[in-house]
Amino acid sequence: MSFTLPFTIKTKIVFLSLLFFTVGVFPFSWNGSLNSRLGEGDQLGVRYNYLENFLSLSANAGSLRLQLELAYNQPPEYGYSLIGLRQGLLTYQRNTFTVELGNLSQVFGSGISLNLFEERNIDFNNLPVGIKLDYEQSDRVWWTALVGRKAPFQFYSPSSNSRIPDAEADYWLGAVRGIFSSRNQNLQMTPYLVVSLLSSPIQEFSVDVTSEKIVIDTLMLDVAVSTTGLSTSFSRKNWDLMLDGAWTSKIFSQPHGEQYILVTSTSQGIFTKDMISGTSGYAFYGRFNRYFDAISLMLEYKNYKLGIESANEKTDHFHQATKPLPYQVGPTGLSQHDVSLLGAITHPVDYGDEAGFNLEIRWPLTFEWTVRGQVSVLSSSDDRSITAPITDRLQGRALPTFHANYAPFQEYLIELEYAGENFATREIIAFTQSTLSGLTNETAQYLTVVPAYLTFRLNDNWVLGLVSELQTASIKSMDQNEIEIGGFDFNSAHHIISADYGSNVSVAAIWDYTNDPTQVDEAGQPLDNWLSGEVSLRPTRDIQIRASYGAEKGGVRCTGGVCRVVNPFEGTRVTLEVRF
């Protein structure tokens, strides 16, 4: 196979070679890794292969550091094919100054206004390419400023399941913050400003005069955005408090509204409503930690109104103007579950319209035993069953409700963990209820029990593992008067048995089961069992090879507040990781 390096790649490689030559006269160190992933199999009866290669390099020379990631992804597991430079960052750090040039990552406060990060396994990347400056004015004052562009930003709706994103946007971004600490460092205040220019596609319907048919045009809408906020932290010996609030204003390059197609027996036409030239929103996040010796209690509250939308706007992925910006990604208010069946029903966060709280208690009973409890209650702040135009996009509740029209989500969990010298286990019970609101409210209830999540060290070489997760679910459809009009029940299970020989060899067998009637293959036949095996070898400290074969269930995969639906996969996967 041959490929042609594009001109820009050649220029970059020449430049990098000169750079390495230059820094070669100074003492420098470097490290790198190669990560290769191969998959050959089927997704829902369709052939699905991928080959991804990532070569990551870091070189340090005194105050200078260069990080590069080269990729040869053809085809990738998600997203577009790429051959060449995937990411890069040049950092210069000297005393009180740090300058970064390349793909920038940054969080302001809790992330509700600016959170630049990457989640590669679901192809989420909002890192702009630009320049960032950090300046430590004193031990109490610290400044950060950045400017960059992300083009294109690919976004997938949670239900998107192919390599092709729902749509693309691009944005310019500029941000500045100051961190001011009190003399005793117990109080920290961070005012910040984020400005952005987002260009995203929108679809406009019109009627062709000649053919009288509906015509759909895709246009670009520019949105100028400004966000001002303040994040404050208080710390004391036995408690700490964080408060983060931000206000966002948007102006559109042209008025835009919702369009509906009206069809009668004799004609069809376009009806446009709710024309707006801009919108505003706000987000608030608070977190309180209280410590009683070793017992810790955490209470989180969030109220996100970064884009209250109508039911029609919510499902229109070409309507980015009224949605939260791609870099407005705050705390989810939920744990990032490592229990597979719980992670599959984790609530996809709505940064545009959600209010709720999360309470967590961690109580170490003894050195080996720990109890953890968690309560999460969330809902939208606006009644989602209403189809009338939104006249006030800041309306809505400050506290969550259990009413079905507000898409409520609740989770109650208790966990008992034992960590001994040769034996460790976790026992978990969780109840989860979520409602998808719309014309028909569908309420799903799940009772999840994890009777075994154990590791047992047999001797100096062998460690055995067993994970057993069981879940019973009940799905009910209700009308807007909350009268049940249909539904079904089902059970699911997830089991893993594994054995590790030192750090060199690991084998595992994974079995998923469900009798969920909605799980069907391409022929409409029920899918109920998925069985796969995995072998991992580490011939040296720096090389790891993993291979798996069989059927994987797929489902919702939520990582870092971003969710995607992953299709069931049947076939072979091989991963090679080399560090040098």
Binding site: T4, L5, V14, S17, F20, V25, P27, F28, S29, W30, N31, G32, S33, L57, S58, N60, Q67, Q93, S105, Q106, V107, S110, G111, N115, F117, D139, W142, S181, Q185, N186, S233, S235, D240, M242, N289, Y291, A294, S296, M298, E300, V329, P331, S335, Q336, H337, D338, E360, R362, P364, A419, A424, T455, D460, N461, V463, G502, S503, R541, G561, R579
Partner: protein
């Protein structure tokens, strides 16, 4: 096609000697400089913290189950070998969505060693790994002498052997 071959030859001729030159001149791997924060949000230059001691820098996250298992062991090693010039520094790479749980977990585990926050993951990314837990052992001059990925019960045996190799002899107890 000819121009593509020409470009390839130019690049190979440039890269080969540069890489060879770089490999010859490359020194031992120095622990990278990057600012992190402590649990009260103060900026900490980790490079200055680790100088002068044999330090195990342990990258972990609150949602990583093996990380939580490893913490208890590291706490024991920190207590046992601190008099001989060893320290553990934990670096939590939880992002803004889960970083609120770090303090509570640290207190519930009753950790005696320092825990810092790398919320942007700027330091973690310099090691070109996605693994957790991930640990590097740094000598008193700031050079990385050992690294380890993951945790399985029993991994601490190898770490303890290496510590005994690099630490000053214990004058009060025989090993």
């Amino acid at each position: 096609m000819a121009s593509t071959n020409h470009y390839r030859q130019v690049i190979l001729r440039l890269l080969a000697p540069v890489l060879l030159f770089s490999l010859i001149w490359a020194g031992s791997q120095e622990f990278p400089r990057a600012a992190v924060k402590n649990l009260t949000g103060q900026r900490v230059e980790l490079h200055d913290t680790i100088k002068g001691k044999l330090t195990l820098v342990n990258f972990w996250a609150t949602y990583c189950v093996p990380c939580r298992k490893e913490m208890k062991i590291l706490n024991q090693l920190n207590t046992q070998y601190a008099p001989r010039g060893f320290q553990v520094v934990g670096v939590a790479i939880d992002n803004s969505k889960t970083v609120g749980r770090v303090s509570g977990l640290v207190r519930s585990q009753k950790l005696d060693y320092q825990v810092l926050l790398d919320t942007d993951q700027n330091l973690y990314r310099t090691f070109n790994t996605n693994a957790m837990p991930f640990s590097v052992l740094v000598n008193s001059e700031g050079e990385i002498i050992w690294e380890h990925t993951g945790y399985i019960p029993g991994d601490e045996v190898e770490l303890e052997k290496i510590l005994k190799t690099y630490l000053a002899p214990d004058s009060t107890h025989a090993d």
